[in-house]
């Protein structure tokens, strides 16, 4: 699972060589407050040993520090008792649970008070504060990258820019976990003949494929699905009614509900061919789309924000896409640096 800091392995054993206990000199009671200088020393050593830059001589000096004073040793033991408790936790679970984003306790409690229903308020915030992280994902793409995964059952998953998925196939189910970004799924019949369901789990809920090709994108506050072939069923995470989405339709959903379906945008899967297809798209939306494929910021001024874009633009060369924009619209593309681009009306 997780890599552990090299320096920490030394801390795991409590009876390693070189660990001199000063005999006959009792340290303070196990739970008495630590002497401030010993506490500060333990903190300094912990920081140094976990830095990723600790040397062998650091480790020798650390051992010497521990042996120099029983209170040092007691401070280090207490450090180990804390890190040891954390050490037994699988990293992915621990991060998801302990690093869940949260409002400050007082404010959150007030929010619960204000809303009256504590359960409902937490239900909502539980969704908004998803514990999922792209960090621990099985497969991921960087900005501007694509990646095509051929799964064991013959299905294909294509990752768009800046995306992350986990693949979890077992005897009962074929499951893809969308942790970030956007994927195109092309399902195949289950070769095992057991017809294990194929589904995409997102933080807002689950999409189950009914023999199909579809695109799923994780947005800030919702998930968008567009079905290209076949159909999918969408089950919001908090248990609202499931919805069936047929080919040619697109829908947003949250953990609470599936919003009404709309006609799917043309070219929803054009990115798999390296193209961004715009059909009368507001320029700010178009620039937001393009910005997903490159680092830095792309903005536009107010007059330009009223323009609309149609056409197919290359995603593998966003600079060229911006140059094309200058040819098709009355705009000028100005770049202060590679990472700061402004589109202005001419």
């Amino acid at each position: 699972m997780a890599r552990r800091a090299g320096g920490m392995s030394d801390m795991d054993g409590t009876d390693g060589p070189g660990r001199a206990q000063e005999p006959g000199r009792p340290a303070g009671a196990a739970d008495a407050p630590l002497r401030p200088d010993a506490l500060a020393g333990a903190v300094d050593w912990y920081v140094q040993l976990t830095s990723g830059a600790a040397t062998a001589s650091d480790r020798l000096a650390w051992q010497a520090w521990r042996q120099a004073d029983p209170e040092h040793e007691r401070a280090w033991r207490r450090t180990e008792s804390i890190t040891g408790r954390l050490g037994g936790i699988p990293a992915a679970l621990g991060l998801a649970a302990l690093d869940r984003p949260r409002a400050p306790g007082r404010r959150r409690t007030l929010a619960v008070l204000a809303m009256g229903g504590g359960a409902a308020a937490l239900g909502w915030s539980g969704y908004a504060r998803t514990p999922w992280r792209a960090w621990t994902a099985d497969y991921r793409t960087g900005i501007g990258e694509h990646r095509e995964l051929h799964l064991a059952d013959g299905s294909t998953v294509v990752l768009n820019t800046d995306s992350a998925v986990d693949i979890a196939f077992d005897a009962a189910a074929r499951q893809v976990l969308l942790r970030a970004g956007e994927i195109l799924v092309q399902t195949a019949h289950d070769p095992t003949g057991t017809a294990r369901p194929f589904s995409v789990a997102t933080r807002a809920g689950r999409i189950t494929a009914l023999g199909t090709r579809f695109v799923v994108r994780q947005l800030d506050a919702s998930v968008r699905v567009q079905v290209l072939e076949g159909a999918v069923s969408i089950q919001p995470a908090d248990g609202g009614p499931a919805a069936l989405l047929p080919a040619g339709r697109s829908a947003h959903f949250t953990a609470q509900e599936v919003e009404p379906a709309a006609a799917g945008a043309p070219g929803a899967d054009a990115w798999t061919r390296g193209m961004l297809v715009a059909d009368d798209m507001p320029l700010p939306d178009f620039l937001d789309e393009l910005a997903r494929y490159r680092r830095g910021r792309i903005g536009c001024d107010d007059p330009a924000a009223r323009l609309r874009v149609s056409g197919a633009f290359p995603l593998d060369d966003t600079g060229r896409a911006l140059a094309l924009l200058e040819n098709t619209l009355p705009v000028r593309v100005e770049s202060a640096t590679r990472y700061w681009i402004s589109v202005r009306a001419r």
Partner: protein, 167 residues
């Protein structure tokens, strides 16, 4: 826990019979759940039973509400933690799940650590967890948090200092 003397016990008993219905209603309005409210009401009186100063309180309802509020904040934190934990489990392939017994122990450990880290700012907590759980070098933590390496060192030091002082 100190053993409560009979007089103390009696005054807590009076406190209970005069105010427990009110306190349970107070909690229910805030939690939106009568089961949790009943549990926290009981917990509040258990705390009071162990406080020697309970007999001398002048404003029993505000005293009870103060204790109940602390328990409620902790209860909400715990529920929030459980939710995040269960979501993370659900996102894991089932064949990688820890055993049922291990899951229960894990949740208790997480709760302890969560309570310990609750007072820290999010960045401090995250830096410490990335260091300790993921074993990331400080430079990588700095890149993820978008801060300098020296800030990461300060965050990690602060988190550990906090834990060592509280432990």
């Amino acid at each position: 826990m100190p053993t409560a003397d009979p007089g103390h016990r009696q005054s807590v008993h009076a406190l209970y019979s005069d105010h427990h219905t009110w306190l349970q209603g107070w909690l229910r309005r805030r939690l939106g759940c009568s089961f949790d409210a009943a549990d926290l009401m009981q917990d509040t009186f258990v705390r009071v039973l162990h406080r020697p100063d309970a007999a001398a309180i002048r404003e029993p309802r505000s005293y009870l509400a103060t204790i109940a509020h602390g328990l409620m904040v902790n209860h909400l934190r715990r529920k929030d933690l459980e939710r995040a934990y269960l979501q993370a489990l659900a996102a894991m392939p089932q064949d990688q799940w820890p055993s049922a017994e291990r899951r229960a122990v894990l949740l208790e450990t997480l709760d302890e650590i969560d309570a310990l880290l609750a007072a820290l700012p999010a960045r401090v907590r995250r830096a410490f967890l990335l260091c300790q759980l993921e074993g990331l070098p400080h430079a990588e933590i700095a890149a993820r948090l978008g801060v300098s390496v020296s800030s990461v060192r300060q965050y990690i030091a602060r988190a550990l200092r906090h834990c060592l002082a509280a432990a």
